[in-house]
């Protein structure tokens, strides 16, 4: 299990999430931004399920 750096990956995933959320916050309500960010956030959630949820377990 050591060969996969779960904690570092989780940090990058969190950074992606923060960036996407911030982008939506400053979008000024442009739908072309907000709706695509929603999709990006859904994909980021899958990264969390696959990686971030394992922090503290492996």
């Amino acid at each position: 299990m050591k060969k996969y750096n779960i904690e570092d990956m989780a940090k990058k995933i969190e950074l992606l999430k923060q960036t996407a959320t911030e982008l939506k916050r400053i979008s000024g309500g442009i739908q072309a931004v907000d709706r695509n960010v929603d999709r990006i956030l859904a994909s980021i959630k899958m990264l969390e399920l696959n990686i971030s949820d394992l922090v503290g377990i492996v």
Partner: protein
């Protein structure tokens, strides 16, 4: 292939058992809290039981959480917000996909998907398809109706996610689908066992195409009904197509929850996304040991719009005696997959009968065709059971010998004596999706 390349997620799929359970408990608490805080249905259910999310601390506590079942979902959907009712746990405007159950057992249950939940559906299928060997070089053909039922929709998006080239065979008829698979040299296929057998039949009889020799299919995902978990049916499918056939299980309310690996030695539960419990059908007692069949109670962890918590699915399952699988996955396995439904298991002449046992017998006799039909009626106080079978297309002689074999095997596998009817090949009903071959007419008489 390097060892880790056989897994969609090598970390999760090979976690030690105690780590998997640690993850499951954390996720169970999370979805319970979410449902309590966001779904009027669940909040009311738990308040009535005097339960709060913080009460759940161990796996033993999980069994204190009230179960749900399809009738409760239907009832909850009779109120606002239409059409999902009080189970809906997100604002209605976040719902981006509509699905519904097939309605085989009554009024369909409506299922809302947000973008995130839909992404989850594809993700869960990706674990299975990757385990079967689907890769980015595969051309995957999907011969289903792309309609309101979930069917293989998530399989479509999971195959895309893996990087496969997906061919939607939606409105084409069976013959056109077969010809398109041949034309495009499709390498993988997803369908119900009934349709997998039916397509092979049409290919041979109507088009003169032998799927095992003239097509390029190497692997098949079989889902939607038992079949790939019934050895005789799986054997027929694999021989007809010259391909490996993998069993996959799921339901609209639950999502995809189990798959076979390439060892084909039972069904792995997708334990990072689900908690599967088995309960004794009559007493409701928990079954944790192998060797005893019971009804599945399942929780889906990470699907938030329409939570599924301790859902009594009525699927009959049994834990596998051997925990370690040669594929290296640590997800616990079921013996033989979903072997029936609690709704279908019925007493005939005082004997518990699972219709899948009849299928196992019929399809293990090469002189018989794939189709069959079972009817139970009451004559006075006595149950009367009739089995209609077809002789295989090229077999016409010596029906008596086949009958003898059938009677013997049925007695051995089901403990019952049947009225047998032999029909010409092609005369019993054919089904495109879920077949209804068992007809219990006793209540109606």
């Amino acid at each position: 292939m390097k060892p880790d390349e056989q897994y969609w997620n090598p970390v999760l799929e090979t976690l030690p058992r105690e780590k998997i359970q640690q993850l499951q408990l954390k996720k169970f608490k999370n979805i319970l809290k979410w449902a309590y805080e966001n779904s009027p249905f669940y909040r009311s259910l738990y308040k009535e039981a005097g339960l709060e999310p913080g009460d759940i601390k161990t796996f033993d506590d999980v069994r204190k959480v009230p179960k749900t079942e399809k009738a409760m979902l239907r009832e909850a959907q009779s109120i606002e917000p239409y059409p999902y009712g009080s189970i809906l746990s997100v604002p209605l405007e976040q719902v981006t996909e509509y699905r519904q159950t097939s309605g085989t057992t009554g009024q369909p249950v409506y299922h809302p998907e947000t973008w995130q939940d839909w992404e989850w559906s594809a993700e869960s299928w990706a674990y299975a398809l990757y385990a079967y060997g689907f890769r980015d070089y595969d051309r995957v053909f999907l011969p289903f109706g792309y309609s309101v039922n979930i069917a293989f929709w998530a399989g479509h998006y999971a195959a895309e996610k893996i990087g496969c080239e997906v061919v939607p065979g939606g409105v084409l008829d069976t013959e056109a689908r077969i010809l398109k698979m041949k034309e495009l040299r499709a390498t993988a296929l997803m369908a119900t066992p009934t349709y997998i057998l039916g397509m092979a039949d049409v290919a041979r009889k109507k088009l003169g195409i032998d799927p095992a020799k003239d097509l390029y299919i190497e692997k098949i995902t079989a889902a939607g009904e038992p079949g790939a978990c019934i050895p005789a049916t799986k054997k027929r499918m694999e021989e007809m197509w010259g391909a490996k056939v993998y069993d996959q299980v799921g339901a609209t309310e639950i999502g995809h929850w189990g798959f076979e690996c390439q060892a084909q030695a039972g069904l792995h539960v997708l334990e990072n996304f689900h908690l599967v419990e088995i309960e004794d059908i009559e007493t409701g007692a928990s079954i944790t040991e192998p060797g005893r069949r019971g009804s599945m109670v399942v929780t889906t962890f990470d699907r938030f719009a329409h939570p599924c918590i301790r859902f009594d699915s009525k699927d009959i399952i049994e834990w596998n005696p051997v925990e370690k699988c040669e594929c290296g996955r640590t997800f616990r396995r079921l013996k033989g997959g979903v072997v029936g439904r609690a709704d279908d298991i019925t007493k005939v002449k005082g004997v518990l009968l699972a219709p899948t046992a009849i299928e196992e017998v019929v399809r293990s006799i090469p002189e018989l065709g794939d189709e069959y039909e079972v009817t139970v009626i009451k004559r006075g106080d006595i149950d009367d059971i009739t089995l209609k079978v077809e002789t295989a297309p090229d077999y016409k002689r010596n029906v008596e010998a086949v009958e003898q074999k059938l009677v013997q095997q049925l007695r051995l596998k089901t403990g019952l004596r049947y009225n047998l009817e032999f029909h010409d090949y092609g005369t019993l009903p054919r089904y495109a999706l879920k077949a209804k071959r068992f007809k219990d007419l006793r209540v109606k008489e």
